[in-house]
């Protein structure tokens, strides 16, 4: 078990190093920090002197090591626009984004399992065909279109739900602002969560359905029938558990990916999260913030993947974590 953890940790570090290298390369090539610091009116000589002082004339590698050293200490530079450490800016926006991802995940998990199982058990039923057809449509409509359509219908036409912002958030644990503690918060997060879930949900329904249908063909399901086990138990104990094992792996990766998908959703709904912030940072060529965003998102991605792998190892009896480390 420990060996596996260590191995997984090394993999995670390797991925983070690669991401940081990309991040640094972007910073190195995008925008001129001097212009942000001193403006246009400084002579070329002073500029060169400043460059030397700031270490901008050092080799790429030296600069990268310095960047890395700072990054490890949580210093990813200072945002040009906010004049604040980039990490602080992002951490302020993080709760909004994570809550949005969480809301979408709830919708995806809550709906994809019953829908996937149903369409696998009754593949020829009209309702199953409708669900499968709808899932194709769902996959092919872009997120921003779904979002705009929903805003038009639910916010403009019927005015049931607000169309932008987080609404009344409740401050918890001295740090976190949450949408899930007030009715207004719920009403604000509903549409963005649905929009964010709209791409992944159909994918998950189809994935679960395909896995489940395969599992239902297996010998052990046939054997369970031959033992006289009730169909409900066959579906939800024998088949579902085997179905969800591979889905967990794919699903974990997708949830990590969703953090990046929030850029679109947050922009359409003016959701004050880090995706929205990222787009603004790009518009303002706020390089440190852009790089910090990439590194933080990469970090979240690596952490979720590692956790998912560990969960997979724990729930799958045929995976021996102790042996996998070897």
């Amino acid at each position: 078990m420990l060996a596996y953890l260590v191995k997984r940790l090394f993999q995670a570090i390797a991925v983070m190093l690669a991401i940081s290298l990309i991040g640094f390369a972007i910073q190195d090539n995008l925008g001129d920090p001097l212009r942000e610091l001193v403006g246009q009116s400084v002579s070329e000589e002073t500029r060169q002197q400043l460059r030397d002082e700031l270490g901008l004339n050092d080799s790429f590698f030296t600069q990268y090591l310095r960047f890395l050293g700072n990054a490890v200490q949580g210093d990813l530079g200072t945002s040009y626009f906010f004049k604040e450490p980039a990490v602080d800016v992002i951490l302020k926006k993080l709760p909004a984004t994570l809550e949005l991802v969480f809301g979408a995940t709830l919708i995806i998990v809550g709906l994809s399992v019953p829908l996937g199982v149903y369409t696998a058990i009754k593949p020829n039923h009209v309702l199953a065909k409708v669900i499968m057809g709808a899932s194709i449509v769902g996959i092919s409509i872009p997120v921003f279109l779904t979002a705009i359509l929903m805003i038009y219908v639910f916010s403009v036409e019927y005015q049931w739900l607000p169309s932008y912002g987080r609404g009344d958030v409740v401050h918890v644990f001295g740090y976190w602002d949450t949408n899930f503690a007030s009715l207004d918060g719920w009403s604000h997060i509903l549409l963005p969560s649905i929009a964010l879930a709209s791409i992944m949900l159909p994918l998950f329904v189809r994935l679960i359905r395909a896995e489940m249908m395969e599992v239902l063909q297996s010998e052990y399901v046939k054997y369970a029938k031959a033992k006289g086990i009730h169909p409900f138990r066959i579906y939800f104990v024998h088949a579902l558990k085997n179905t969800l094992l591979p889905v967990i792996t794919v699903g974990g990766v997708q949830i990590g990916t969703m953090v990046a998908y929030t850029i679109l959703t947050e922009t359409v709904f003016q959701w004050p999260g880090m995706g929205f912030m990222f787009l603004e940072a790009v518009n303002r060529v706020d390089t440190p913030l852009i790089v910090a965003y990439l590194i933080v998102v990469g970090f979240i991605f690596v952490v979720t993947n590692t956790i998912v792998d560990l969960i997979y190892g724990l729930v799958n009896p045929t995976v021996n974590l102790a042996r996998m480390g070897a």
Binding site: S218, E219, Y220, K222, Y223, A224, K225, A226, K227, G228, I229, H230, P231, R233, V237, H238, K241, N242, L245, N316, P317, T318
Partner: protein
């Protein structure tokens, strides 16, 4: 009253462009505690027969006509809810490959307990006690510990013993074993068969043993059905069939046994292959491969007749027998 009585059972597969017949008017009986072998080459319809008895044909297979009486009750076409109370309870099945038969994510204990609880009102603790008892009967060492183990932690032989124990959990009247040792290591095949034989005899359980190994059939069973292309072409006491086979196909199977071949000689395989369901020859299905086939065999389907002490479906059985006798006297 016999335990099982099958009459004119016909099973078909509704394929996209045609409906093919997988079992063609199969009839046989099984007495209480009797052991019956079903033999034939791959594709003969042996497994389909086993699954039809359990009403477990998977799509697109269906029972087209005929009757299956089990302990006096008609079970062909019984609704699933009623059939479920028979499956695993009064009629149990042992599958071919123990490596894929057990659910990989459930423990042995869970899979045994659920079987008991599907048919009896039992607490988990009581069910586990019964499970342990049955595991002991199949000589599983330290059965208490096995309950907490997952299938992948056990060897193939061990798993098949556990599956045999599971078949016996509810003291069924009939066990259908479909090639229960084919997937196992040769060295333990005989052990498993012996165990099955011992348990069936001591518990008076009827056994339908599906195999393509005539040697196994002769050790394990009292009566034998020989199947070819979805039909029973010879049926009778196992001893008679092994010692004095009437149908050319059965003769071919016996001649192909390794024991029948002198050292250094090739195995005498029957030439040709079992036909697919969509291309079963008219007349006697075996005629293209039969050394004795005459015109009649190619046009008319042979009825089952009693000959010597067996039932056999062959037009030429008379002539055949006489020629063989002449050969021997010559």
């Amino acid at each position: 009253m016999s335990l099982l009585s099958v009459r004119d059972l016909t099973v078909k597969f509704a394929m996209r462009d045609q409906t093919v017949t997988a079992l063609d008017q199969i009839s046989f009986d099984l007495g209480k505690g009797e052991r019956l072998g079903i033999v034939g080459e791959s594709g003969a319809g042996k497994s389909i027969t086993g699954f039809s008895l359990m009403n477990l044909l998977s799509r697109p297979g269906f029972i087209d006509s005929g009757s299956i009486q089990f302990e006096g009750e008609e079970i062909a076409g019984l609704p699933d809810r009623k059939m479920r109370s028979i499956r695993g309870n009064r009629m149990a099945m042992i599958f071919q490959d123990p490596m894929v038969t057990l659910n990989p994510v459930l423990t042995i204990g869970q899979q045994m307990v659920e079987t008991l609880q599907a048919h009896r009102r039992l607490s988990r603790a009581d069910a586990e006690q019964i499970a342990i008892m049955k595991l002991r009967e199949v000589y599983i060492p330290s059965p208490e510990e096995r309950l907490a183990q997952y299938p992948h932690e056990l060897s193939g032989g061990m798993r098949q013993r556990i599956i045999i124990a599971m078949a016996l959990l509810l003291e069924p009247q009939l066990i259908i074993a479909d090639e229960p040792t084919t997937a196992l290591d040769v060295t333990i095949q005989a052990d498993i068969m012996e165990l099955l034989l011992e348990l069936c005899t001591s518990n008076m359980v009827g056994l339908i043993l599906i195999t393509h190994d005539l040697g196994v059939v002769s050790q394990m069973t009292e009566r034998t059905l020989v199947m070819y292309a979805g039909r029973i072409i010879e049926a009778g006491k196992t001893r008679e069939i092994i010692n004095d086979p009437q149908h050319p196909y059965t003769q071919g199977l016996i001649n192909a046994l390794p024991q029948q071949t002198l050292p250094g000689h090739r195995l005498k395989q029957i030439p040709g292959n079992m036909p697919g369901l969509a291309a079963i020859p008219t007349g006697c299905a075996f005629n293209p491969r039969c050394p004795y086939a005459v015109d009649h065999c190619r046009s008319t389907r042979p009825e089952t007749v009693s000959y010597a002490s067996v039932e056999v479906a062959c037009h030429e059985v008379n002539r055949l027998h006489n020629t063989v006798l002449e050969d021997e006297s010559a």
